[in-house]
């Protein structure tokens, strides 16, 4: 699959997929409740709110209260989804998530929209770039980051179906649609999007589309890249990663997130224990975001297909040494 800017690739929003799936869940599960913090439309819980007003709570600009109210609702037997921008959902609520939600393994689903640089002109304050790491280190937490609209729907259903806390990262901007309505999905299982044996490009979220495009670029140079979509950063699919390391002998990870503590770190943690191979990390290198258009920022921060392709060549060099 070739995904290039300017070509007629269908693009849709993952937050929209989440919102649609949430309304569907509402129909099937009377105990699903939804809370937001004055960003109903931006995180697309408006569909659920319109259909199930009595199961919807707009808490106002009060994320910490929202998180603990959701904890209480889960103690009263509900499946509680809280949804706001990723930076507030994660960092603002961190103590509540850690000590109240995760410690007691409560059925609270934390949805962080506007993840990553694609949040765009609002700037650093609104671009969540550390939440995959922050959530990943919490016991009992599961962390998902869908690569497209359809996967966001599936991840939303999986979140509801899996007991305990879960974090779902969504993005503001439309991103390429890579999967279809009936693609399979298992929480914790990665997806091989493209076969290849020279290098494995392990990506999540919007970076899956960039990795696929990088693989096409590499193919022109005679390099056969495998592309793996890790939609669940925790629990991570160790088996698939170890197989990729064994088959390809070199790995590039790509995430719209700080390189520290996110997907790349999670992959490295698996591989250093069992099958260390040369690795390169594409991500934000220990800096804050800034204002700009979403894709402009991906380019500025070196998160594009071209960057992945160069990293792939570099890591292949290292494997030959």
């Amino acid at each position: 699959m070739i995904v290039k800017e300017g070509t007629a690739v269908e693009k849709k929003r993952t937050r929209e997929g989440f919102g649609k799936a949430l309304a569907e869940l509402g129909r099937d599960h009377p105990n699903v409740v939804v809370l937001t913090a004055d960003v109903k439309g931006s995180v697309n819980v408006n569909y659920f709110a319109d259909e199930f007003p009595s199961r919807f709570f707009n808490c106002g600009v009060a994320e910490q209260n929202m998180c603990d109210v959701a904890a209480g609702l889960s103690l009263a037997g509900k499946i509680a989804f809280i949804a706001t921008y990723g930076c507030f959902a994660s960092t603002r609520c961190l103590d509540m998530i850690r000590t109240t939600v995760c410690y007691a393994n409560l059925n609270v689903k934390i949805v962080g929209s506007h993840g990553g640089l694609l949040t765009g002109p609002d700037g650093a304050s609104h671009q969540a770039l550390e939440e995959l790491g922050l959530m990943r280190v919490l016991p009992n937490m599961k962390v998902m980051i869908p690569c497209d609209f359809w996967e966001a729907k599936r991840a939303t259903r999986a979140a509801a179906a899996t007991p305990g806390p879960c974090y779902l990262r969504l993005s503001r901007e439309s991103i390429p649609v890579l999967t279809s309505e009936d693609s399979p999905f298992t929480l914790g299982k990665g997806v091989v999007m493209r076969q290849g044996g020279d290098v494995a490009l392990v990506a999540c979220g919007v970076m899956v589309s960039e990795a696929l495009s990088a693989a096409e670029m590499l193919a022109k140079d005679g390099i056969d890249a495998r592309v793996i979509n890790i939609h669940t950063v925790k629990p991570i699919d160790s088996e698939l990663l170890i197989k990729a390391a064994a088959d390809c002998g070199a790995i590039v990870t790509a995430e719209e997130h700080q390189v520290h503590c996110g997907l790349g770190s999670a992959v490295a943690e698996v591989l250093v224990r069992s099958l260390p191979v040369p690795m390169e990390f594409i991500g934000v290198n220990d800096s804050f975001g800034m204002s700009g258009e979403g894709y402009e920022l991906l380019t500025k921060y070196g998160l594009r297909d071209t960057n992945i392709a160069s990293a792939a060549k570099k890591v292949i060099e290292r494997k030959r040494r």
Binding site: T36, G41, G60, D122, E296
Partner: protein
């Protein structure tokens, strides 16, 4: 600048314009050519998203050229979507995450008091961030520490992102709440310049407690098709709407462009 940026917040900045302009031009002790002047008064925008009024005033005062406003929110600009302490002269704190500005202001006020300095601290607040628990921690602490060099200005425009504040999560009776916390409370029409000036003066002469000026304002003030409509919280006007808005505010895009070019 909002038309040019194609994103950003319009309604809130317009409700703040009258009291914020009065603050910069009639009240503040500051030196735009020396933004870190040790004798300056501080302004902290707890509502980071009102950068259009924040940056416009800084530019009008001379902290940086007016033409910079046209780079707002674009790649490489020093005028970030939300205030960035390290990027923009005159910005005293990085904000954008609501409900933190009053605590920051309190810290500055305490620091100034420790040093025996007369500088004052102004904190621009929104109504909806009074839904954040952190705001009330700061309200309690400021009264407890009796900081009278701190003046909060509350833009009470009854609007937030999802609707009318009173309908989403009512913060009223807000004046009584501040009084119960032992603040000096001054309620004014936030678009009446004489009342605004008088309020700042009364705040300055208050001893032993912090002051909150509760400014009753209108979202989108001065632009007929924006006034009172919460939907203008986070949207920029189209070029046509921008032209119409400017003409209602007594200027034109042409006059503006000329000023920018000459700046």
């Amino acid at each position: 600048m909002l038309v040019e940026a194609k994103s950003g917040h319009t309604g809130g900045p317009l409700s703040c314009t009258d009291f914020a302009t009065t603050l910069y031009f009639n009240v503040l002790n500051h030196d735009p050519k020396n933004p870190k002047h040790p004798d300056r008064d501080y302004v902290v925008y707890s509502i980071g998203h009102v950068t259009p009024v924040n940056y416009s005033l800084l530019a009008e005062c001379g902290y940086f050229p007016l033409r910079d406003l046209m780079t707002f929110r674009k790649l490489g600009t020093h005028l970030q979507g939300h205030p960035s302490y390290l990027d923009t002269p005159g910005v005293e704190a990085s904000t954008g995450s609501l409900g933190q500005g009053l605590s920051i202001s309190l810290g500055i006020a305490l620091g100034l008091r420790m040093d025996g300095k007369p500088n004052r601290v102004y904190c621009i607040m929104g109504d909806a961030e009074h839904q954040e628990g952190a705001t009330w921690e700061a309200v309690m602490a400021a009264a407890n520490f009796k900081v009278d060099n701190l003046c909060a200005v509350l833009d009470l425009n009854n609007a937030q992102i999802d609707g009318r504040m009173e309908e989403i999560m009512n913060i009223h009776p807000i004046a009584d709440k501040y009084r119960a916390f032992r603040w000096n409370v001054i309620e004014i029409d936030g678009h009446d310049v004489l009342q605004i000036l008088d309020a700042y003066r009364r705040a300055m002469s208050t001893k032993g407690s912090p002051t909150v000026i509760i400014a009753h304002t209108k979202m989108g003030r001065g632009v007929s098709f924006m006034e009172g409509d919460y939907k203008w919280h986070g949207n920029p006007p189209s070029p046509e709407q921008g032209e119409k808005a400017l003409s209602e505010l007594g200027t034109t895009y042409g006059i503006w462009s000329k000023r920018l070019r000459e700046s």
